[in-house]
Subunit: 347 residues, 2 copies
């Protein structure tokens, strides 16, 4: 342990209930649906007759995040974004999250408190209650499990399998930013690991690094869709990569798709970073992942209504299944889309 860490409090100083109490002592319940939050066997939620939505994610150190360049506050924040994006993707409203935490002894109480500060900041911003969780020791690093719950009116529920041929394919925000942010972070980490006097330089890439470390979710688009009385035919949050998640909707809906490369929104910083890595910007945009944007389909008559919603782009349309999954490039050639979002690690 280095000198600068001498003032840190070992987590062993607290018992299980003590540590949870310490971390959650300032948690106040805001949603009227949260009948009972932290401190009992389970959270109790009043869905007031709406359907209940539940989703869970598992995040492991070394696989999903590298603590060398990931501040724990940001990691906590991103964990909440990851969880609630699954609830929004059902056209629902998130209400509660539960956090499971596995901690090795390298984490002090102060470090875990930072993680919780990020979690609670995102909870406040997105109006969700931290309503429960579990905490345990771990032999190896940090393990995070996150469960999000929410509600949706019965007739507003949107699944992944409802798209039809000719439906328009819409996306929020832009793609590939988080992936290119990660490449920049990894490049600087490698240079730093060779020469500890090296000063990492992120100038000009602030936006894509923020997209990697502390992303936001386009919750306002879900609200705009409701206000415009548009119920998408299918919806998914893009976390595995635009191509992979689009193909997933196509498979479940029994359709093909055709998207135009020039219509895919890509931020200038993403293109600039791709150029530095001698990469076609289409690669991170289609296969990068962790975009935390929404992809949804609507009937073709909704084109004008969709154009009025800020932050939404039309990138193509669904087709009959036998036409396959196609990207039209700038020269007008058809390229077959492939799902490349995920591989099992060999670790």
């Amino acid at each position: 342990m280095s000198n600068s860490e001498n003032s840190q409090t070992p987590i062993g100083n607290f018992g299980k209930f003590g540590l949870l109490d310490h971390l959650t002592r300032n948690v106040s319940i805001k949603n009227k649906g949260t009948v009972k939050g932290i401190g009992d066997d389970s959270a109790v939620i009043d869905t007031s007759g709406e359907l209940s939505l539940v989703s869970t994610d598992l995040l492991l150190e070394g696989i999903h995040f590298n603590l060398i360049y990931t501040p724990l506050r940001h990691l906590g924040y991103k964990t909440v974004i990851r969880a609630i994006s699954d609830i929004y993707a059902m056209n629902g409203v998130p209400g509660q999250i539960l956090i499971g935490l596995g901690l090795s002894s390298k984490f002090s109480v102060e470090k875990v408190t930072e993680l919780y500060e990020g979690i609670l900041l995102a909870c406040r911003k997105y109006n969700v209650d931290l309503a429960g969780g579990d905490i345990t020791s771990s032999l190896t690093g940090l393990t995070l499990s996150v469960t999000a719950t929410g509600t949706v009116e019965r007739e507003k529920l949107v699944n992944r399998d409802g798209a039809g041929p000719n439906d328009l394919i819409c996306v929020t925000g832009n793609f590939g930013a988080a992936f290119m942010g990660l490449q920049i972070l990894e490049r600087e980490r490698k240079l730093f690991s060779r020469d500890s006097g090296f000063k990492p330089d992120f100038a000009g890439f602030e936006y894509i690094i923020e997209r990697q470390l502390k992303p936001e979710f386009p919750a306002n688009v879900v609200r705009h869709l409701k206000e415009a009385d548009i119920r998408p035919t299918a919806m998914i949050d893009v976390s595995d990569g635009l191509a992979s998640d689009l193909i997933h909707v196509c498979r479940l809906s029994g359709t093909g798709c055709r998207i135009w490369y020039e219509k895919i929104p890509i931020d200038l910083e993403t293109s600039k970073a791709a150029e530095e890595f001698q990469m076609d910007p289409a690669t991170p945009a289609l296969n990068g992942g962790e975009d935390f944007e929404l992809l949804f389909t609507v009937p073709v008559d909704y084109a004008d209504k969709i154009r009025d919603i800020p932050g939404v782009s039309l990138i193509g349309h669904m087709t009959n299944a036998d036409l396959g999954y196609k990207l039209i490039n700038e020269e007008g050639s058809e390229i077959t889309l492939k799902a490349q979002g995920w591989e099992m690690s060999e670790g």
Copy 2:
């Protein structure tokens, strides 16, 4: 890799969706509340106007289980028991579970399939639907997160904080069995690690080993309580240890407690194993943990009604807070109870 494992299929042969599809291809939905199970961004649950219950647990290899003597089928089964016990402890009925799985490359598809067989066996037995989850690679062994959801009628909800002075303290089943089962397993493992020709001998300890590896939950008691129209004033599932969980209810309810050692149900095998380890059977019974029994309190007038419920024992009563947490031993002396159920590992 040994010869006998040559026929195993590496998990890398499947993509993320492929592996989940493979593992869950035989999952059928049984509860009418499960509107949408596996295969979308989140599970969709119709609580039909009842309150929704959500609980999450995190289980890590090396902390919560040792795969040297834990068959993966049993581990899957126990994971479900652990999860649904939190829902029953709110006087609710579990309906769905979601499983998050972190896998290192040492796990083959066949091994993961065994784990899922155990999960699905418990789901069938306890009438819950496997309704979702997440799967990811891991650098180090097996990580399991489990989220259970369920429902409870508004007026039947039981929290941990409702016990009053003089309420009777009731428990299901018996205590210390899982802990002593673990001691036997650990003893044989150590002997085996010194001499690989050694044959582990579990004769006479089958019951307590089963309590450790493949426990059941007294779901029928929750039903009996409902049929007898008894709503406990407080309830908790005993997973951290009888003393720890009882004190937890006392603290939240603002009471003290007095329990009689001779009333605490302890199985003969537990006592026999404790004797072999030169341990007072009270130690595993009070502090062992992983009992997956229920502890609940009822008003004193319910004494006769409670005695009619099979599998329930009265072990003492709540007191005013200033009387503290006391065990009366066989000689009639008062001993102060301490919560010893949990410590952070130093690993």
